[in-house]
Amino acid sequence: MEFSNLQVDLSSIPDFKKVELKSISKKYKTVLWIGWLIPFFILMPLPGFSLLFFEVPYLYVVGIYLVITVLFLFTAIEIHKGFPRRKFGVRELDIIHQKGFFVFTETVVPFKRAQHVEIKQGPLLRLFQLYSLKIYTAGASTGDLVINGINFDTAEKLKSKILQVAEIEEDENFKKPNETSKDFESLDSHTDPTMKKKQDE
């Protein structure tokens, strides 16, 4: 790899790894556990019960429980070890999010590629008064960034920061009418400027 080909000095490029990352709320670990354990405990007795009603070979049931145990262990490790790795950070122009133990991902989404920003809260999150922030980018929805388990103030701050940067972009682009995408982006953020999805109120 020869970067000397390029006109940019490598040392002048900011490194996203140097950003100090913030942890998400500790309560979210409980949310993760509950979200995993409830379905687990509901499904757990099913193979055992099936022995009572049908003639299932014992070996099958033992096999199923083995698989479930392995699954449980891996998920437990993922939640326990992976949780401290769930972090996010904000730079001037982009947002960084990392997570995962078995598969560790480090995502960076530039603010100006954000199409929409949404603050969401599912039933479990509501119980713990936590929120998740979803940043939509253009294209397939797998490219969207979701930060789960942050409190409302943080979510609001992040959202306004993103909108602010995106809006500076829009003003610049108003001179260039060919930027259609920006036009409706601005339309969106003007018609429902806050887009608050506070179901709890």
Partner: protein, 508 residues
């Protein structure tokens, strides 16, 4: 010349019923082809239930015609306020609304049914956000052109650029769509011989897999007949007859390969029949297809990824395939990409310069995949391979299965090695170039400023051996480059972000 008023809800042309109906029947035939086919091979079935079978089909066809009529009656579009609206659906009613600002492109198209009934299809494309795209199946040409003009009139006030590109088109539309454009140049026009070259140089493994599907449904029938004629009990006599079986096997495999080859050549040729690419300033209009005529506009700013595909035979014939991915709300499948097959290097250069404003020869900094990528491929294949081996062992015995397994393993080794060798990512001042493919060589180009987000992904092994997969999202989907050295991949990620954030250009 606004003789049509679209401000009230409009129906399509009455011929739309037939278009909907035909399309539905064609889709059903394609989907349930095997279901039709298998029972017909059975003698008992032919003798007893055949009449009912025919009756059932007739009934189904009648029902789907009724449904097509309901669909037609419930399909209404109109221009309302600042948007183009569509109400449709029989059971689940839905309302699609496209504000004028979102309209990117309006296409008129004709498939074989539409050509037959002398109507045109009308398609409103958006910038790839949400699923808001409207397709009207059948309009009289005058109505379609009028509607297009009226919509463009509205869009023009909001968004002059869109119209600028289409001006040429729509003046022409007023006369005739399929006549040559006056202001446009033909970039390429594929004659029959070139098309044939494209056909024979394509990867016929794909055709082979279609064939294998087909064969597997024929298998039962085949062995039935054979055991009848030859009075062989296959399982017992197998080992006594190994020489014959082998000859038969070789002939059978050879026959399969030939058939797979023919199917591929034919399907490629039908798909890209009469390929023509027109250039309108920096946008291109592509048209191809024998049975289903596809007519699509490649817009410079909507284009995200340009992929060039070649292989040794193609190199020898001096042709390439080029595929364009435009912004879309879903991950594009290969079939959804716009194909320009049989394109020469000179034509690629012209196209490339029009789309990227750059020549193809940039100074790139390269980062290649680690050899561990090859190991990962083996891991992924080992599951399927293992299962296939067990099945083979069960049916054919150890000796034969091992022989076939070794052959397949050899092929896998070559394919995986090539896949690892050809996998890289590279960046220049304005472009990202991604290499891929195994037997084919694929090179993808995308402009740095069209990137949506970047991430590094490391599974537990990669965390230990300091490697990472680099994933780049564009508005047409994602590109993954496997197994790069972590430290260097990080530099690439930083560089892409830096360029992206310091550029003022938009992704569309």
């Amino acid at each position: 010349m606004n003789k049509n008023d679209f401000s009230s809800p409009q129906l399509q042309d009455f011929r739309g019923v037939f278009i909907i109906f035909f399309a539905d029947v064609a889709r059903k035939i394609r989907r349930y082809f095997f279901a039709f086919f298998i029972p017909l091979l059975n003698e008992n079935f032919r003798a007893f239930v055949f009449n009912y079978f025919i009756l059932a089909i007739i009934l189904l066809v009648a029902l789907s015609f009724g449904y097509a009529y309901l669909l037609f009656i419930n399909f209404k579009f109109q221009i309302k306020g600042q948007s183009f609206q569509l109400n449709h659906g029989v059971i689940k009613r839905s309302n699609v609304e496209i504000p004028f600002e979102r309209i990117q492109n309006i296409n008129l198209e004709q498939n074989i049914f539409q050509r037959f009934l002398n109507v045109v299809g009308f398609q409103v494309e958006t910038a790839g956000e949400g699923n808001a795209e409207i397709t009207i199946k059948a309009l009289r040409r005058e109505v379609a052109v009028d509607l297009k003009n009226q919509l463009l009139e509205e869009v023009k006030q909001l968004n002059p650029e869109v119209i600028d590109d289409q001006e040429n088109e729509h003046q022409q539309d007023a006369k005739q769509i399929h006549t040559h454009y006056r202001n446009s140049k033909v970039l390429m026009e594929l004659d029959f011989i070139s098309l044939f070259k494209v056909g024979i140089s394509s990867n016929f493994l794909k055709g082979l897999s279609i064939l294998l599907l087909f064969i597997s449904s024929l298998f039962n029938f085949f062995f039935d007949i054979l055991s009848h004629f030859l009075a062989i009990d296959f399982e017992e006599d197998f080992f006594n007859r190994i020489p014959e079986t082998l000859t038969f096997g070789v002939i059978f495999v050879g026959f399969l390969l030939l058939l797979g080859f023919l199917i591929t050549v034919l399907s490629v040729m039908i798909r890209y029949f009469g390929l023509r690419v027109l250039r309108l300033k920096n946008n291109f209009e592509v048209e191809y297809g024998l049975i289903k005529r596809i007519n699509q506009v490649i817009k410079k700013n909507k284009t995200q990824v340009v992929e060039i595909e070649t292989n040794p035979i193609k190199k020898w014939l001096k042709i390439n395939n080029l595929f364009v991915s435009q912004a879309s709300s879903v991950q594009l499948s290969d079939a959804q990409k716009i194909g320009m097959v049989g394109i020469t290097n000179a034509q690629i250069d012209t196209f490339f310069e029009a789309i990227f404003d750059l020549s193809r020869n940039q100074k790139f900094a390269y980062l290649k995949s680690n050899f561990r990528y090859m190991i990962r491929l083996f891991w992924q294949q080992s599951v399927v391979f293992g299962i296939a081996f067990l099945i083979g062992y069960h049916f054919f015995g150890l000796a034969q299965t091992t022989a076939i397994a070794i052959l397949i393993l050899l092929v896998l080794v070559i394919v995986n090695y090539l896949a690892y060798k050809k996998s890289y990512v590279s960046i220049s001042d304005d472009l990202i170039k991604i290499g891929g493919g195994s037997i084919n060589t694929n090179t993808k180009y995308l402009a740095l400023h069209k990137v949506q987000s970047v991430y590094l992904k490391r599974n537990i092994f990669q965390q230990l051996n300091q490697h990472a997969d680099l994933v780049i999202y564009t508005a047409s989907g994602r590109e993954v480059i496997n197994y790069l050295a972590y430290e260097k991949a990080k530099i690439f990620q930083n560089y892409i972000l830096f360029k992206l954030e310091s550029s003022n250009e938009s992704w569309i």
